[in-house]
């Protein structure tokens, strides 16, 4: 059952619903009564994406049409802009791509979900493999439209000694699910899995991650932070599974959110399932309001309330953005954050 299957078959009973435990905060079956028409074919983008100028290679997939296989050869270093565009005439489509990062290669993957259209319904599926000793840093700006429904799913398969660092930045959609599934072999492979959501009006974003540690000596470090305002809803579902035999796993999960209005909501479900011995696993989850004392302190120094709020929220979320390793991408992420908060970067 998935949005992709519903789109390809036209059978709405294939949509995940709130009865599915993993979808109870992001119901699609109750939301989508009729699918829009299939998105027409397009080739290429007319506008530069949010990471323009940073990449040495660009792959554009418009309305689900574009190159489907991307390979980074052994030992190569690449910065790739991967753009999923829902064009102005987008209806319903599934976009798929597969990325192979060969042994010892380094890929900085700058992914953007660009909603030029409005009420489209799309699924984006990525299959990524990171071979032995290879490095992948993935920075995603999910720029869906406020009336759009989207599910973006990445299945990432790591080999021993591989490194994955990921940061998702989103301002949500009408209903937006951002899923990452990591097959973690342990074996000195290391994962950083971060997210930032800034949601206002009636927007929704669901950051769901599943990391399965299959072998010993693996590291996972996860930090997601968000703010919700208006009638927005943020969802964080983080699951880390430490399988039998995955001893000496070092896993950390943090999710922290600020709720800025009475009608906004954050639902969080951190789950650590541990079936191995001698592991170090920790998680922290906090949902609260902006600290009144900090706000008063800043105002006492002369900073007007709106500016003080933006400063404090920016600092709160900035901790995640600062973990992005690629300098150019970090700069773009800071500018994105400033734009969301209406401040200077």
């Amino acid at each position: 059952m998935s949005l992709a299957r519903a789109i390809t078959t036209g059978d709405l009973t294939q949509l995940p619903s709130r009865r599915d435990e993993d979808w109870r905060w992001s119901d699609l079956r109750g939301l989508i009564r009729v699918l829009p028409a299939p998105s027409p074919a397009h080739i290429g983008a007319g506008t530069p994406g949010p990471f323009a100028g940073l990449a040495n290679r660009e792959v554009v997939i418009v309305n689900g049409y574009g190159p489907a296989a991307i390979k980074v050869a052994a030992g190569e270093t690449q910065t790739l802009a991967l753009r999923f565009i829902a064009a102005r005439d987008a209806g319903a489509h599934v976009a798929r791509a597969a990325i192979e990062v060969d042994a010892g290669a380094t890929l900085t993957l700058l992914e953007s979900y660009e909603g030029e259209g409005t009420d489209y319904v799309v699924e984006r599926d990525l299959a990524i493999s990171v071979a032995k000793g290879a490095r992948l840093e993935r920075v995603i700006i999910a720029g869906d439209d406020q009336d759009a429904v989207s599910v973006s799913r990445a299945d990432i398969d790591l080999s021993p000694g591989a490194t994955l660092a990921q940061t998702v930045l989103t301002h949500g959609g009408k209903r937006q699910r951002l899923e990452t599934h990591v097959a973690h072999p342990g074996a000195e492979a290391s994962v950083r899995l971060d997210g930032v959501y800034v949601l206002g009006a009636k927007r929704h974003a669901d950051l769901t991650t599943v990391v399965t540690h299959a072998g010993a000596n693996g590291v996972t470090d996860q930090l997601t932070k968000g703010v919700v305002n208006g009638q927005a809803r943020g969802v964080f579902q983080g699951r880390i599974v430490v399988s039998p035999g995955a001893d000496q796993t070092d896993a950390k999960m943090g999710h922290h959110a600020l709720v800025l209005s009475d009608r906004a909501e954050v639902d969080a479900k951190p789950e650590l399932e541990i079936y191995a011995d001698d592991v170090a696993c920790a998680h922290g989850n906090t949902v609260g309001a902006l600290d009144d004392e900090s706000l008063f302190y800043a105002r006492q120094r002369g900073i007007p309330e709106a500016e003080a709020r933006a400063m404090l929220i920016g600092a709160f979320l900035g901790e995640v953005v600062d973990r992005i390793e690629h300098d150019g991408a970090r700069g773009v992420a800071r500018a994105w954050l400033a734009e969301q908060l209406g401040t200077r970067p």
Binding site: R299, Q300, A315
Partner: protein, 252 residues
């Protein structure tokens, strides 16, 4: 002599509970006045009410700064008019470097007063000079505001902010709390360096020892939400000898 701060019959409640009960106090321009009192007398309430902290409800009375109604202004507007509160427990703000915070504050005040913003080089020069006077390590100011600072460093950071923002009225709320004797001396020197004919200070303290370092022009005793006695610096010593109990009856 012109009055800087004039508080008249001030009543303040928190969550419906009356804390200040008709407090009257004038601080002339250029003078340093101490407010002493036992725990629970309303000392911190006085400082927060003057600074405009939300939740401190003024139910009666007035407070003016140079004749302007302070109580009608937002906290940031009061700051821009020249009110500075040195917090008893300075707040930690992770992710905001002290320098960034201070520059944002200074520029916000300048902007509110219709003055030009300070340039980055001029700001750094100003802060370097003031930090040196307080024997502060400049590199510390690149770190998140007050995060990981010791109690003494936080109080020095308060005085540094005061020196850079150059307020007309400085309210020092229990500035001596948490300070060892060396830190107390450095902080007091920083405060004394800012005394001048155009600036007034309200030094709020439980203990007399701070007043050995910051010599007040006048001392007021606050008990049960009111000023119950006023006098010269010698009053602080009398309090040290006789305790606050002698005023409990007056206030009742």
């Amino acid at each position: 002599m012109t009055t800087m701060l004039s508080i008249n019959n001030l009543h303040v409640s928190i969550d419906g509970k009356a804390i200040l009960d008709g407090l009257t106090l004038d601080v002339p321009v250029g003078e340093v006045h101490a407010v002493m009192g036992p725990n629970g007398a309303g000392k911190s309430t006085l400082s927060y009410a003057l600074a405009g902290r939300p939740g401190y409800e003024v139910t009666a009375g007035s407070a003016t700064l140079n004749g302007d109604d302070l109580l009608a202004l937002e906290p940031n507007e009061r700051a821009a008019r020249g009110v500075f509160l040195s917090f008893q427990y300075p707040i930690e703000i992770p992710g905001v470097p002290a320098l960034t915070f201070l520059r944002t504050a200074l520029n916000a005040q300048l902007k509110a007063r219709g003055e030009a913003e300070i340039t980055a080089p001029a700001f750094l020069k100003l802060v370097r000079a003031k930090a040196a006077g307080l024997k502060m390590d400049f590199d510390m100011l690149k770190r998140s505001l007050n995060v990981g600072f010791s109690g003494g460093e936080k109080k020095r950071m308060e005085i540094l902010q005061m020196a850079v923002l150059s307020p007309k009225l400085a309210i020092l709320d229990e500035t001596d709390s948490g300070l060892d004797i060396d830190a107390l001396r450095i902080v007091a020197e920083g405060v004394n360096a800012m005394r001048g004919p155009d600036r007034s200070m309200l030094v709020i303290t439980h203990y007399q020892r701070l007043l050995d370092h910051i010599r007040p022009d006048r001392v007021h005793v606050l008990a049960a939400g009111r000023i119950v006695a006023s006098g010269g610096p010698e009053l602080a010593h009398e309090l040290e000898r006789g305790g606050y109990d002698q005023y409990a009856k007056v206030a009742a």
